[in-house]
C-alpha cells in the first residue's frame, strides 16, 4: 500500500498492464519522452521503450484510426486524447469506427481499445479542454464509459478497461488528479466495469453522481448530517453501462433521490438516471427526483467556470428541496 494521487494511480495502472501484457501499447500526443502533459505516462517510455510507448503526430482522428488498426493486429491499444475537448476531432474514429467494429464484422473482430482523456471543470484550462462530453458517448452502443472519482478506483477501473475486449472511454477528471492522496495497493486489482459503488450509506435520500461531483456530494452530505439528514451516495463509476440495479435498490430504500452531474442539463446522464428510476421505482418515490447540473450553455472556460459549475451549496439546497416536497 502506498499513498497515491489519482494521476499516480493511473500511471501505476498503465505500468501494471504494460508489464502484464506485451500487447498493451500506450500512445498519443506527448506521451513518450515528455510523459504526458499531466505526467500520466511518466517513466513508461524509459521502462518500456519506443516500441510500446510512443508519440503520435498531432492529429486525434489519426490516433483513433491507428488504434483500430493496431487492435486488428491483436494489440491492446491505450490511446490518449490529450484533452477531452479535442475528442470532436476523433469523433468518427471513436463513435463510428471503434464502437461499430464488432457489429460490422458480425462479431468476428473487436476493438480492445482504451481511450484515456483528461476532462472536467474547475482547473481553469483554456477553452475546449475541460468539457463534460460523456453524454455524447453514452449515446453510442458499443462503447463503455468509465469515470473514476478517486485514486483507488482509478487504478482498478483502468486495469479493467485495458483488459476489456470492447472499447472503453476512460475519463479522468483533472480536478481529481492531484487534489488528494489515498491508499492504493501496489499489486494489480480490478474493479468491475458497470458496477456502481455506495460511497456513503444513508437512509433519508440517495445522491446519485459520478466523477469529481462525488467529492462535492460527500462534502455536502457532511453538512447535511448537521441537520440530521442522512444521505446515501451512489458513485456510478461507470456511466455506460449504467448500474441500474444499485440505483434502484438505493431509491427503493430511501424513497428520495437527487442526481448530480457537472455537465449541462440537456441530454445528460442525469436525464437517463431519472428515466430509469421513473421506469422502475416510481411508486417508491415520495418526491420527484431532484437534479443538480450546469446550465444549458456551451461549456465556458477559466473564470466563467466559477459561476457555472454546480457546487456543494447547490446539492445541499436540492436535497432539502426534495426532502421538503
Amino acid at each position: 500500500m502506498t499513498q497515491k494521487t489519482m494521476i499516480q494511480a493511473i500511471t501505476d495502472a498503465l505500468r501494471t498492464e504494460l508489464r502484464n501484457d506485451e500487447n498493451v501499447l500506450v500512445f498519443g500526443e506527448d506521451v513518450a519522452k515528455n510523459g504526458g502533459v499531466f505526467r500520466a505516462t511518466e517513466g513508461l517510455y524509459d521502462e518500456f521503450g519506443e516500441e510500446r510507448v510512443f508519440d503520435t503526430p498531432l492529429a486525434e482522428s489519426g490516433i483513433g484510426g491507428l488504434a483500430l488498426g493496431l487492435a486488428l493486429q491483436q494489440y491492446r491499444p491505450v490511446m490518449e486524447i490529450q484533452f477531452f475537448g479535442f475528442v470532436f476531432e476523433a469523433m468518427d474514429s471513436v463513435a463510428s469506427q471503434l464502437a461499430r467494429l464488432r457489429y460490422r464484422s458480425g462479431g468476428v473482430y473487436h476493438a480492445p481499445v482504451t481511450i484515456r482523456s483528461p476532462f472536467g471543470g474547475g482547473v481553469k484550462t483554456p477553452e475546449l479542454h475541460a468539457d463534460n462530453l460523456e453524454g455524447l458517448f453514452y449515446q453510442c452502443p458499443g462503447l463503455k464509459v468509465v469515470i473514476p472519482s478517486n485514486p483507488y478506483d482509478a487504478k482498478g477501473l483502468l486495469i479493467s478497461a485495458i483488459r476489456d475486449n470492447d472499447p472503453v472511454v476512460f475519463l479522468e477528471h483533472m480536478k481529481l488528479y492531484r487534489s488528494f492522496r489515498e491508499e492504493v495497493p501496489d499489486n494489480d486489482y480490478t474493479i468491475e466495469i458497470g458496477k456502481a459503488n455506495v460511497a456513503l450509506e444513508g437512509k433519508d435520500i440517495s445522491i446519485i453522481t459520478y466523477g469529481a461531483m462525488v467529492r462535492t456530494a460527500l462534502k455536502a452530505a457532511e453538512q447535511l448530517k448537521k441537520d440530521k439528514i442522512d444521505c446515501e451516495i451512489i458513485d456510478l463509476r461507470t456511466i455506460s453501462p449504467l448500474d441500474v440495479e444499485t440505483i434502484v435498490s438505493s431509491v427503493k430504500k430511501t424513497n428520495r433521490a437527487v442526481v448530480v452531474q457537472e455537465a449541462q442539463k440537456q441530454a445528460g446522464i442525469a436525464s437517463h438516471v431519472i428515466a430509469e428510476i421513473n421506469d422502475r421505482a416510481l411508486l417508491y418515490l415520495d418526491a420527484p427526483v431532484g437534479r443538480v447540473n450546469a446550465p444549458d450553455t456551451v461549456f465556458p472556460f477559466a473564470a466563467a467556470e466559477d459561476v457555472w459549475l454546480p457546487n456543494e451549496k447547490d446539492i445541499i439546497n436540492k436535497v432539502k428541496e426534495t426532502l421538503n416536497f
Binding site: 503526430p57 489519426g62 484510426g65 488498426g69 475486449n165
Partner: protein, 363 residues
C-alpha cells in the same frame, strides 16, 4: 518572390502507362514480369467482374440487392492492383471496392449479404485479412496506417492496401494517415482511384493540385500516378509499391486515373446532371478490357471462347451466390444486440430477453 509550383511539382508525377488503348506496349522497361497464366487470370477476373457488375445492376433494379456502387470502367484500377497483393496482405476497401474483396477471398454471396445490410456479409473467413467496406470517406486510411504499423511491429512480411477515391483526398483522414505512415515508415499502399467525380463534384473542384499523386510530397512519402485503365501499369505500380514497403522503405501513394461508367451508386444518382456523354465516350475508348484483350490476342493468350467462358462462369456464380444469400436466415434484433459487447451489458441483457420473447411469438 514566392515559388510558383505550377508546372513544376506535377512534372515529378508523370503518368505511368505500359499499354496504349490499342494494347501496344509503350513502356517495355516497366513491363511487369507476369507469366502467360497470370496474364490470362487477370483478364479472366476483369471480364468476370464486368459481367457480375452488370448482373448486380439488374438485380438491384429488381429490388433483389441493397446498396450497390457500380464498378464498370475501374476493373484495371481495382483488380490489377489487388493482383499485386499477397494472400496474407490486409485489404481496406471503400464501399465500391467489393471486387477486390471477392478476389482477395470473400465468398461472392457475402458480397450480396453486405449489400443487403446482413451481418453475415461482414463475417469474413479466417484466411481473409480485410476490413469491412468503409462508408465514411477516408476513415479506412488511418486504420490502414494502424494495421501497417501493427504488421511492422509484429515483424510480418505483409502489408496493408487501402482503397479510396479522389474525393477522399480532401479529407483530413487521408492526409493524417499518410503523414502517420510516413513518420512510422509503415508498410502501406494507399491507392487513390481518381475516377474524376466524387458523386457529382469534379476533381478540379476538390483540389487545385494538378495531380493527386503529388499530395504524397506533403507527407514525405513516395507518390506515383498511373494510367488506371491500363492493367499492366496498375499492376507494375502496385507491385513496386508493395516491394518497396516490404523492404522497409515505408508507404506509397498511387493515383490511378480511371472512370466509372455508371452512376455513383444505384440509389438514384443521375450522372447526366454533372457529366457529358462525350466525356464518358472518351473514357470508354480507353476501356481496360478492350486494351488488355488486344494485348493478349496479339500474344495468342485470349480467345472468344475464353471470353465466353469467363462470362458464363460469372453468370453461373452470381446465380448460385444469390441463392446462397437468399438461404441465409433473416437477421434478428437479438443478433444485433449480441454484437454490441463481448458480454451483454445490463441494458442489452434486458433487451435480449424482451426481443427474444417477441421473436419467439413470431414463429
Amino acid at each position: 518572390m514566392p515559388v510558383n509550383y505550377s508546372g513544376k511539382i506535377e512534372d515529378f508525377f508523370p503518368t505511368l502507362r505500359i499499354l496504349d488503348t490499342q494494347g501496344h506496349v509503350v513502356n517495355n522497361q516497366k513491363k511487369p514480369e507476369l507469366t502467360d497464366e497470370q496474364l490470362r487470370e487477370l483478364m479472366w477476373r476483369m471480364v468476370y467482374t464486368r459481367i457480375w457488375d452488370q448482373r448486380a445492376l439488374s438485380l438491384n433494379r429488381q429490388g433483389r440487392l441493397g446498396f450497390y456502387a457500380p464498378v464498370a470502367g475501374q476493373e484495371a484500377s481495382m483488380l490489377a492492383s489487388e493482383y499485386a497483393m499477397d494472400k496474407g496482405d490486409w485489404l481496406l476497401p471503400s464501399y465500391r471496392d467489393i471486387p477486390q474483396l471477392v478476389w482477395h477471398g470473400m465468398p461472392l454471396y457475402k458480397a450480396f449479404l453486405y449489400s443487403r445490410g446482413h451481418f453475415e456479409g461482414g463475417q469474413y473467413p479466417e484466411a481473409l485479412n480485410a476490413v469491412m467496406p468503409q462508408i465514411i470517406i477516408g476513415a479506412q486510411c488511418t486504420q490502414t496506417t494502424g494495421i501497417a504499423l501493427g504488421l511492422k511491429k509484429r515483424g510480418k512480411a505483409q502489408i496493408a492496401f487501402c482503397y479510396f477515391g479522389d474525393g477522399a483526398t480532401s479529407q483530413g483522414d487521408f492526409y493524417e494517415a499518410m503523414n502517420f505512415a510516413g513518420v512510422y515508415k509503415a508498410p502501406a499502399v494507399f491507392i487513390c482511384q481518381n475516377n474524376r467525380f466524387a458523386i457529382s463534384v469534379p476533381v478540379e473542384k476538390q483540389t487545385a493540385t494538378q495531380t493527386l499523386a503529388q499530395k504524397a510530397v506533403a507527407a514525405g512519402i513516395r507518390g506515383i500516378q498511373v494510367d488506371g485503365m491500363d492493367p499492366l501499369a496498375v499492376y507494375a505500380a502496385a507491385k513496386e509499391a508493395r516491394d518497396y514497403a516490404i523492404a522497409g522503405n515505408g508507404p506509397t501513394l498511387i493515383e490511378t486515373l480511371t472512370y466509372r461508367y455508371g452512376p455513383h451508386t444505384m440509389a438514384g444518382d443521375d450522372p447526366t446532371r454533372y457529366r457529358t456523354d462525350e466525356l464518358t465516350g472518351e473514357w470508354e475508348k480507353k476501356d481496360p478490357l478492350i486494351r488488355f484483350r488486344y494485348y493478349l490476342e496479339q500474344l495468342g493468350l485470349w480467345s472468344k471462347e475464353d471470353e465466353e467462358q469467363a462470362a458464363d462462369q460469372a453468370k453461373e456464380d452470381v446465380a448460385k451466390a444469390l441463392k446462397q444469400a437468399d438461404a441465409v436466415p433473416k437477421q434478428k434484433v437479438t443478433d444485433l444486440l449480441s454484437f454490441m459487447y463481448e458480454q451483454p451489458t445490463q441494458n442489452v441483457k434486458e433487451q435480449l430477453t424482451e426481443y427474444s420473447a417477441r421473436e419467439g411469438d413470431q414463429r
